[in-house]
Amino acid sequence: MKAFKKIDRTQRFLLIIIFIYCIIVASRNSAFLSLSTLFALIRSSAGTAILAMGVLMVMISGGIDVSFPAIAIFGGYASLRACMTFGITNMFVTFAISIGIGIVLGIGNALLINLLKLEPFIITLSTASVYFGLMTIMIGTKNVGASLLPPQFRTLSSMKLITTTNQYGGTIGLSVFIIPVVGCIFLTWFILRKTLIGKGIFAMGCNNEAARRAGFNVNLLRIFIFGFAGFLAGVMGIIYIAGTNSVNPVSLVGTEMSVIACVVIGGAAPSGGYGTIFGTILGVILYYLFNQTLVYLGLSASWQEFFMGIVLLISLISTSWQRRVQSRKNFIYTE
């Protein structure tokens, strides 16, 4: 209970919603409360959870990034094609190629923002097209079926950390995806909460000029932030390909808004300066909870967008209300 009080309003709100939703689903369908649901949830949300960490960091710094799906697929797909062409089977190299591309493209975003001094939104909107276009021209967008995937992708896809049997005697297991996910979350948490760079990221999101006056090099910070977001996108690119067990390189593009929605629902301030890892994780969990379990309620997956929209709206209403109360205290009447 003490821990419950320590977290912020948004997180409490999300926890309550998740809790109530789980009770409703469980009461309708007892199959819901099982390890296999949990394992499926973790596996399917892995990619989004990793990307969300990058979006969170960018958003805390007062920016926004819409190019990360393009970066992720660029990194992942290029790495896949390289592995196929050169017969690379080493897991480490596979990740390194994707991550390397991710970091370079991410830093590209930061350099453009620093140079042009324009809104990160319009810059990443254009780089998203540039990056994706570049990939299409250089390596194409040919589908790669499961049978053609190099062995390390298939290993990653099927490897389980823990296995157990379900009530029907089938084998279920916790995907090895949990390792990069936990690693990325921990790394993001560590940077944001335990390092001077993290303090600088919050500071520049609160007040860019004041961060500069405090002695931070905000241009360098931005390079770090977008570079890190690129790194995460690179990791996600490989997870994504392994997760779908085949790849259609155009399918990831356009998913940026749902990742951003998860982060906003998790309580990060789109204006910068505030956001929590835990809130973001709750946002992602909620998204995939709807995604995976609406079927237990007899609803089609299209309801997912609707429910996410409703949750987002409710949290926006609460934010708006708080802000109005705050403004009234300062005699600013907006209604």
């Binding site: 001077l196 760079i197 919050f202 500071a203 609160c206 405090a214 002695g215 505030y274």
Partner: protein
Amino acid sequence: MAEEKNIVVAEHISKSYVGVQALNDVSITIKEGEIKCLAGENGCGKSTFVKIIAGVEEPTAGRIVINGKEMTKHTTKDAIDEGIQVIFQDLSLFHAMSVAENIAMNKLVKEGKPLTNKKEIEKIARDALNLIGVDIPLDVQVQELSIANRQLIAICRALALDARLLFMDEPTTALTKNEVDSLLNIVLGLKARGIAVVFISHKLDEVMRIADSITVIRDGHKIGDFAASEIDSKKLAYYMTGRQVDYQQYSRNLENEEKLLEVRNLTKKGNYEDVSLSVRKGDILGLTGLLGAGRTELALSIFGLNKPDSGEIYMEGKKVTISSPDDAIDLGIGLVPEERALQGLFLQKSVNENVAAAILKRLKGLFGNIDSGKSRALAKEAIDTFRIKVYNEDTLVGTLSGGNQQKALIARWAASSPKLFMLDTPTVGIDIGSKAEIYEYIQKFASEGMGIILISDEVEEIVANCNRVIVMFDGHVVKEYTEEEMKDPDIKEKINALVESGKPGKGAAVS
């Protein structure tokens, strides 16, 4: 201290930008534990001086000696290493971060340790807060604090870096009287520790109480150093502006006794209660009382914001419901709000667009478009009439000084020729020269038949401009001074005494 040590000796400092001489042969010495006021009008060069000492700008000529060391190439880092800290007017705080993080931030960056530690951050913050003897919870977000406490956080942040000389830019502007008092006490505490404090301010009556010396700068020249005891605000105004500033007391000389605005028993719970007042043509009604007395809220209600719970408003004898600023403008009511930059002006727009904003309906062209010729002519006229210092009417309002911004805002309403004009603390943060001009306009409007409500904290301002005055406490009208009473030569002291009596700790407020 047996021997007074100098922290800063600046000799013959000059600074010129392209074509403009911002500082001309200025020499200033700041001693350990000294409280100094740096006074001067906007653009006189006082901020340039601060920037030079803080290492932000390089002087074109002159010599700077800090703590006995001659600084050849003086950078921001050198300044910070020597214990020189500037607290900017905007405070440069990180609103969504905690008190502890805000206080410790600059020190952390300076030390440059890649990893941070919550305990260490809290220790830095607690030590700094202890220095000024203030207790503020460390984990609260700065945005939840009052402006006064935020100021203290900014001071602590400087102290955490072992500041020996603090520049404070307009520190009292947004503070209530009580808060100013406790700030001044804290500054006296710093002085006792040998820390020097330099106030940069327009509003000097408060800081003069504790200052040791005052240095006046005008047009880039140092006018002189004065002991605080030998100077009064009138003399100071003279040194700052170079001309005698004397405020004419306004008296109404219209025959017409009809009420232009009448407010009856207006109540808004939690804001103000049972307020009745009236304004005739040519009246300048002063509304004073401590900050938070309900004055601003009342004015907003008359302007169609902040809907009242009960009570009636009459305009020219007719009962009216004002539910939006649009209604108010149609009835001929104008408002210069408390925070001109936030609530009044479009900072990113030109003087032209700002001046035209309230009368767009009248600037309609043939197809309902805005007639830009008319609007431009109007803006040019306003710039001339109100002596707004700008390059031309396309200059962005955000680039103007406070005084000129305020004049542009007043020009906007003057263009709409309102019948009732409300000005909420119109001269806060404005230099003396512009202040006198604003008084001149207000009085001119009134003598031409406009009804005016002037909200102000400065009793001097109220006495100089108003022919009738209402004092509010805690949402209630406690006293109305009539035209006759305002002619009393001791009226200033009387109002002052009444306002002071409402201060917490000095007897209960009249209710």
